[in-house]
Amino acid sequence: MTTFHDPTKPKHVADRFENKHAAPVGSSAVVATTEEVRVTTPPEICGMGHRMKRKEDPRFIQGKGRYIDDIKLPGMLYMDIVRSPYAHAKILNIDTSAALAMPGVLAVITGKDLAAHGLHWMPTLMSDTQMVLPTEKVVYYAQEVACVIATSRYIAADAVEQVVVDYEPLDVVVDPYKALDDEVIIRDDKELKTNRIWHWEVGDQAATDAVFANAAHVVKQYMHIPRIHVASIETCGMVANYNPATGKMQLYMTTQAPHAIRTVFALVSGLPEHKIQVISPDIGGGFGGKVPVYPGYVVCAVASLLIGKPVKWIEDRSENLQADSFARDYHLEAELAADADGKIVGLRVNGLADHGCADAAANPSKFPAGLFSICTGSYDLQAAHVNFDAVYTNKPPGGVAYRCSFRVTEAVQMIERMADMMAHDLNIDPAEFRMKNFIKQDAFPYKSPTGWEYDSGNYHAALRKAMDMIGYEDLRREQAEKRARGELMGIGISSFTEVVGAGPSRDYDILGIKMFDSAEIRIHPTGKAIARFGTKSQGQGHETTYAQIIAEELGLPANDIEVEEGDTDTAPYGLGTYASRSTPTAGAAAAMAARKIKAKAKKIAAHLLEVNEDDLEWDVNKWQVKGSPEQAKTIQEIAFAAYTNHPQGMEAGLEATDYYDPPNLTFPFGSYICVVDVDSGTGEVKVRRFVAVDDCGNIINPLVVEGQIHGGLTMGLAPALFEEIVYDENGQCLTGTLADYLLPTAVESPKWETGHTITPSPHHPIGAKGVGESPTVGAPPAIANAVVDALWHLGVRHIDIPITPEKVWQALRDAGVTE
């Protein structure tokens, strides 16, 4: 357990990581911004910048993907789970006899059975602990209590009903502020009898206080960033296949991080790591929810180990929504200070993180509140201080970085709401206010008051472009006319800065494993290739974009490159896909490995052409002699020679591996503008238009980027207007089905209008930044700001997301507006 879990010595912890996670890198030359996507290869090669259709899609759209539930092994057994109807209760007795007596039931596994092997507790990725199955008490509603293994899925479900558990209900803590009182201790397994998990501070408190003391204007707001769920279409599942003859454990598993999981399984179970093979097949959405290890996975693997047969566990929708890791759930008290000219000078944030019954976040271990300290956003301010506490409550453990680089969504929601509030208070147009306060293009690399070094940016260009695309000035005129007629229309802006691509090994690790990532490329004699990665696509399109990076570097057609991920027996080690890290890490590794191959190819070409290496220059897909380009060897010719005619003394073959340790994170950004119409009778909000201008540096595939942005914007619309996990006072989850937990559909989504600017990352080998999460991070405050903008003249200053019809109705009626 690392020290930040120890609430007795909180403050010192901050010193360990404050201002240390972003050492200066690269030159300080200003990075120029363009709008033209750079394309250097012809369509046959399809390197970077081509709108290549995704190579993986033909199998997906024909229903030929292979997901966990498609895996059927001979003699396979099925697991189902008995879950707690209480959020906090002592377990007095578990009677499994009736279930065991049913034909087809092989085993009922309880906490006591696991305790015999020391497996009833497991570490979380944040070095906290979490129950696999309880022996003493349950701490959240729908907690796993016992697992039934049977010969059919139906028998397993019937047997679950026959397991009789006697509970003695205990007082439940749902409100994290009540948890702070320590009147009910949730984790009485711990030495320290407190619900407090950690305390964390970053920034300069004294400097921030001084700035606030002299500030002309201060705005202050409490806000809740609600608990939400990734709700991927595919739920979690596993097929565990232990072969007693070979001693090998195959784990087919819905995981975003197969390699790290293998290591953790080895350490926890004692099985040798070479006898564990984690295979992550096609995954129907991860979004951070498939990074943690859930109890179901562990019991499924134990069951296979004990019985010696394959065991399948597939979570159903309600189990997924009720018991898997949540995201967000930050309570924030924010204060923003500005000087007399309307220039932002300082930010102060007090946060309370509700982690449920265990800190099961998947943050890099030195960052208990993730990368929340990016919260000064796109603004150049003098001082900032962030002060955080985390507590246990009777809810499922978490929280995961749902399509966001570790708590950046929370930070962006806060700073963009606060900036808007300040603009409105000062009666300055929110766009003008942002332009005035943005970090200027020539200030990059920019050192933020919380210790980050932003790699590159041009915030003015992105916002200007978004304003032009949407017709900002006309919309403001329309709004004024409508307001005069009593109609409610709002315009909201979000100019976010993301921080993605964890991360440099000096500061970023998960359970001690450094957050590099890897690529291994092998070129076959006929010039085709296989490339394997430590990451794992769950819909991001890696099979296409990685191939395009290699195509760009080597001139091999992207269609000639097979991309493989997710099998720990074949792929190089890596930390997996989440936090928009694949392009910044494994994408960089792809380029670096390709460059190693290119260097060897040069030697082979020199040998074949009988010239000195220095006389060669690279052109798209071949090494050619300077000054006489007709003398050239293509990469395919070189590949063939690497196996048939390589220089004596050189190793045969053409392959390379790269483990890429990024020098810094990447800082994608964008400006989003949203227009809403509000129904003053019903409180309904309709998103009329939404323009998103993203800058993710150099673009590998514009089609894939747009696809990521469309999906991400919809996932940003979701918490803004619809989604929230709700508990009643007994800790019962009220949103356990998709009829209650509201995912927006095509009907609720506006037409997403996308655009881009391109400001490359100066330190990334191909100048790219992550992008998958930008829209999820950037969209919610644009929508929230638009709704508040529509109501500001009525005296409405803030509405917490999700902005439901009832919340708007309440705000309207409070302001005396009715139909």
Partner: protein, 289 residues
Amino acid sequence: MIPGEFDYHSPRTLQEAVGLLQQHGDGAKIVAGGQSLIPAMRFRLALPEVLIDINTIDGLEYIREDDGHLMIGALTRESDLEESALVQQKYHLLADAARVIADPVVRNRATVGGNLAHADPANDHPAVMLAYNAELIALGPHGTRAIPIDDFFVDLFENALADNEILTEIRIPTPGPGSGGAYYKVERKVGDYAISATAVQLTMNGNTCTAARIGLTNVSAVPMRATGAEQALIGKPITNEVLEAAGQAAATECDPSPDLRGSVAYKRDLTRVVTKRAIRQAVERAQGG
């Protein structure tokens, strides 16, 4: 989400289906579109021992006019209602509702008969049929009987059908001259049940309302008529004050429960607003708008 064990029958005729109901008593359940029953079975909230699938019976899916009525076969899919030219031309209230029931995928399977037989106040058809003053035709071992809609909804999920009766047809009186109808629903997203919705069918003589029936959705334990709102309209010229009075009456007489869709206060006020909007639209249609 694995249902309990059950037997399954797919009769070819209504008589056969009634026979099966007779034989299995209250352990048997009819399945039509399955869009309410199957979810309940997967949560094991419903545990029927026998399922009688009426999808294999011919002649239960139709929409036709006869003898001053619109006849709708119980197995008619919502999507067929939605696409019916007849419904769109003459039965505006029904057409409005068909477009907002569930989502397009559910509407392809869900049936009008199932929607009513389920007796769920959250469903949209009960309020619609209350406003239309529809008649439901049931077939049992001793033949058919007609049940007035006002007598059909007995309790939450409980209708007036006997255990051995099947709902076969819904009859809606064809609206006379000067009539208009409308359905106004507020939902959180497509496919959601109403936060509140109002069904109105009325007749106008000039600017005076001469007859009106109003049904409310999802604001009571049993599908209900807003008789107070009806009285606020009948015999009066339609003015903003009358609309407001009708809306307020509906808000007062409804009896919503608080849930994730909203508090009681919100649902009542929303009922006022949607009732006004539905009446206004129905009046416009009645006046040829």
